[in-house]
């Protein structure tokens, strides 16, 4: 950590996005009192991280990258243990409620070691919700899950935020951040590189216009049009007889692009105007790609 400044509004989902080794997991471990900070300060749910960790622990829920439920206990035994440690009046009742909520009632009395990955993760999330947390930390909650399990987790997160829970989510999946996060903080080398709503971050990058022409001789003509419309320097791909340019002009539409190119006599084969994905944002604004598997954090 080299100075990660982060403020998350109540009842929203903040997505922490960054390449592996950027410090996302370290940030989560610090904020959930698992690591002691060696400098700086943070308040979680209004309490000081260094001086009042016990108060914070009463108000947070954490689901990490790795399953953190007891494999030798059944689902039901796990949840009632955590409910008891949270001093709930009816630990068994709360456990049953959560098992029902996450579709685990049938497997409730089987040891967790017999659960599938998706079931484990759902139980993990249920374990984080035993006492409705003010802040829920989700560290790559859907890594390695099939789409159905992933949707279930997403639905649960949406439901929680609707009830006022604040969520801090780290993820490798840009789609996940796009779907869930109200705000995204791009983390790079231990600090926040950019923050904003997914829409704002995409606007920062701009859309990419690509034009494919019939023969390479027509490229300069096409480039001149792109240059005029986008105001940015076009990049050539001679092999494909294509030229690309980035535009932040939101009034530029595909029909207009096509009309202008046609009017300039460009032998147009294909044209596209693609809004950026978070992946583009990510690659442009941070140092590394998302998809290498090392977990240095």
């Amino acid at each position: 950590m080299r100075g990660l400044d982060l403020a998350v509004a109540e009842g929203t989902v903040c997505g922490l996005l960054g390449p592996n080794g950027a410090g996302k997991t370290t940030a989560v471990r610090l904020l959930t009192t698992l690591l002691r900070p060696d400098g700086g300060s943070a308040r979680v749910a209004g309490y000081d991280l260094v001086r009042e960790p016990a108060r914070i622990r009463r108000r947070i829920g954490v689901t990490g990258q790795d399953s953190s439920v007891d494999g030798d206990l059944t689902g039901r035994q796990n949840l009632s243990l955590f409910a008891r440690l949270h001093r709930l009046r009816d630990p068994g009742g709360r456990g049953a409620e959560l098992l029902e909520r996450f579709g685990l009632t049938e497997a409730a009395d089987r040891p967790v070691s017999t659960y599938s990955g998706g079931m484990r993760r759902r139980l993990d999330l249920a374990a984080s919700l035993v006492r409705r947390p003010e802040i829920l930390f989700l560290d790559e909650p859907t890594t390695g899950l099939d789409p159905a399990s992933r949707n279930q987790i997403w639905d649960a997160v949406r439901e929680l935020t609707a009830q006022g829970t604040t969520v801090l989510l780290t993820t490798q999946y840009l789609e996940e951040a796009d779907q869930l996060a109200d705000d995204i903080a791009l983390v790079d080398r231990g600090r926040v590189a950019h923050t904003g709503a997914p829409r704002e971050l995409k606007a920062l990058i701009g859309s990419e216009a690509e034009v494919v022409v019939a023969h390479a001789d027509a490229l300069p003509g096409a480039a001149a049009v792109l240059d005029r419309l986008t105001g940015s320097a076009p990049a050539f791909d001679h092999d494909r007889a294509a030229v690309r340019a980035v535009t932040r002009d939101t009034t530029l539409t595909l029909p207009r692009l096509v009309r202008e190119l046609d009017a300039a006599g460009v032998p147009l084969l294909d044209a596209s105007l693609r809004p950026p994905t978070l992946n583009d944002v990510f690659l442009r604004l941070t140092a590394g790609p998302l998809d290498d598997k090392e977990h240095a954090a």
Binding site: L34, L35, R57, S68, D72, L73, T74, L81, L85, H86
Partner: protein, 258 residues
Amino acid sequence: MSTLAYDGTALLGRQLRRIRNNPGLLILTQTTPITMLLFFGYVFGSAVAMPGTEYRAFLVPGLLAATASGGIMTGMFQAAQDTHRGVTDRLRTLPVSRAAVPLGQAAADLVVTAAGLIPFLLVALAVGWRFEGTALDALAALTLLLLFRLACTWVGILLGLASRNEEAAGQLGSVTFVLPLLSSAYIPTENLTGWLRALAEWNPISALTTALRDLSGTAPVPTDAAWPVTHPVAGTLVWSAVLVALTAPLAIRRYTRG
């Protein structure tokens, strides 16, 4: 302190439920001393100078002490498992008293150890061992045994929390199997060469073994030996106290800091 008791009890319950769900490890740890008693007693017993019955009776207190030292292995194994499977992290994000988790583990281990004495002692009686002390001697023997087990469990918990991964803990755990071999648990130490004899007599397992042999009336306390063996009750108490004082605070600290 009442939070510690409450959390500790909940976590003690957790450990006992785990054992009930998955009794394989328990059965293994409980049957090992019985197997060793039969194996050593009848195979080695035929090769040692002592008559067979006498050697088997000699072995019983030694195996009890050796089994108690197995607390290092089980303590380490469980703590490493919790740490490397994320359970420790989950518990550390809960509002749980910091000492409750290792304490609950140690308490559960004591319950299991005490229960495991019953089948072992039944087999011991069947092969000719007799307890010839008073009820007070029996109580003293049980107390010393459980105290030493507790001390060993704390050593194990510290090693397990500090372990790099589960495999490393497993490998280190199997090394603890040799500890009783270098003590008076299975053999008389008088005939060992000088330095080896000193090592064996200062081994805490020897102090407990000698105490148990004395209290059960199996063998008298040797007069010519290192201090923990000539004063076996005090020796066991001091060794246990030293081990707990050294490892328990470090284990709790390690648990708190992560």
